[in-house]
Amino acid sequence: MLILECPYCGVKAEETELSPGGEAHLVRYGAGSSDEDYEAYMFARKNPKGVHFERWRHAHGCGKWFLAARCTATLEVFGTYPAQSKEPPADLVAAIKAKRPGWEGWK
């Protein structure tokens, strides 16, 4: 069972309380961008087998969107942080690096 701590209300929410929202930190491309960028923004996904950064919503709780770092191969959760973050917090990245020396970074 997947448990994520909501960074806003502090509730340790079990997955039926949450709704998943896909890959985090996608750069948004809109009208005027190239076909390649727009296609990649819409469809191309990192889909890593390992460390992944995702959007989640505390749907049946405070209702807010937040971000989470998780391993898709083991379901280990590394941490959660507010949705306003442009990139994962440095201490979270360092903690993941310490646990997964081979990890190539979040980009």
Partner: protein, 415 residues
Amino acid sequence: MKRYSVFAIAREALRYHQGWERAWASPEPKASYDVIIIGAGGHGLATAYYLGKNFGITNVAVIEKGWLGGGNTGRNTTIIRSNYLQDPSAAIYEKARSLYERLSQDLNYNVMFSPRGVIMLAQTHHEVRGYQRTAHANALQGVTTEWIGPAKVKELVPIINIEGPRYPVLGGLWQARGGTARHDAVAWGYARACSAMGMHIIQKCEVTGVRSEGGKVTGVETTKGFIGTKKLGIVVAGHSGQVAEMAGFRLPIEAVALQALVSEPIKPCMDVVVMANTVHGYMSQSDKGEMVIGGGTDGFNNFTQRGSFHHIEETLRALVETFPMISRLKMLRQWGGIVDMTGDRSPIISKTPLGNCFIDCGWGTGGFKAIPGSGWAMAELMAKGEPGPLAAEFGLDRFREGRFIDESVAAGVAH
């Protein structure tokens, strides 16, 4: 290859079954091949088979990191149907379904195709309209399906409760020549036929890198060393993103877990396949008597071959409401597979940004039924270098051009 037949059984019966030979060989890899297929699931093996059968290309290796058929092919609930809404889907799924009709004879291997009929229940007015529309579309596509009312549903499935409190059965889309087949046998039958043509099926050999020169593929790095090839086919379902990355491109695919479970065996009680997309569950009965049950996918990326527990609860709750008699059945086994979901929920059979490298993936929750058709179309693409009519609409370029084959709304959920 010695043919299987009633005479072979009689002959072996007289000599204590000492004369059966291995169904396929397990050779060490050669230095290079004309074609390498990565992934010995149904789709990879069928691609190899039709490369040999339809195009005479037999210097082929199928490379598998685990054991053949150990991926989704050996984990699925084996529903076969072709009642899709969009023309390109109906064409390839009906091609596959019609190949299933004679697959046992073609492969000389009993794949136990059982065209027992598939009902997709309509339990909301929206679904009634949706399935009536699909029935009309199928009539134009030459796919035989029929819209049936609740009384006919009850006649076909006596154990069903058509007056459920939440979602009464309002009718259904009935495909009489849909059904099931034995999943392992499909993989084994193709593997045996490929091996008989001299192809190499190399198990326990993981592809770890794709080598190229001047924009064209030259071979693959594996746990058994480098193996050269003129053409490469990537047919790895849940791991498509990982292998595509080795080949230098990214896919419109996300991997999620899909689960299934079976009950203890009981006496025959249901001789058709029933799918209930609104309440999210489907069920059929295996020849052993187990009720085979499938449910929903997790909403998040997952590479562990198990799914979230609450999906089982949701599925069983829905099915108990639909089939009250199963309420006291014990469930024997539960498992998961990693399915490859595309942005429009339709598959990809395509050239790739890397020269002489082709990909067949994105079958997601519903590709068992497509195995023969997909192999047929992928073999044509790989042999000619250009897609034939079955594969043409399923290219990767459709995502850039906005030519989606939108089946997610049409077909509801899984399988």
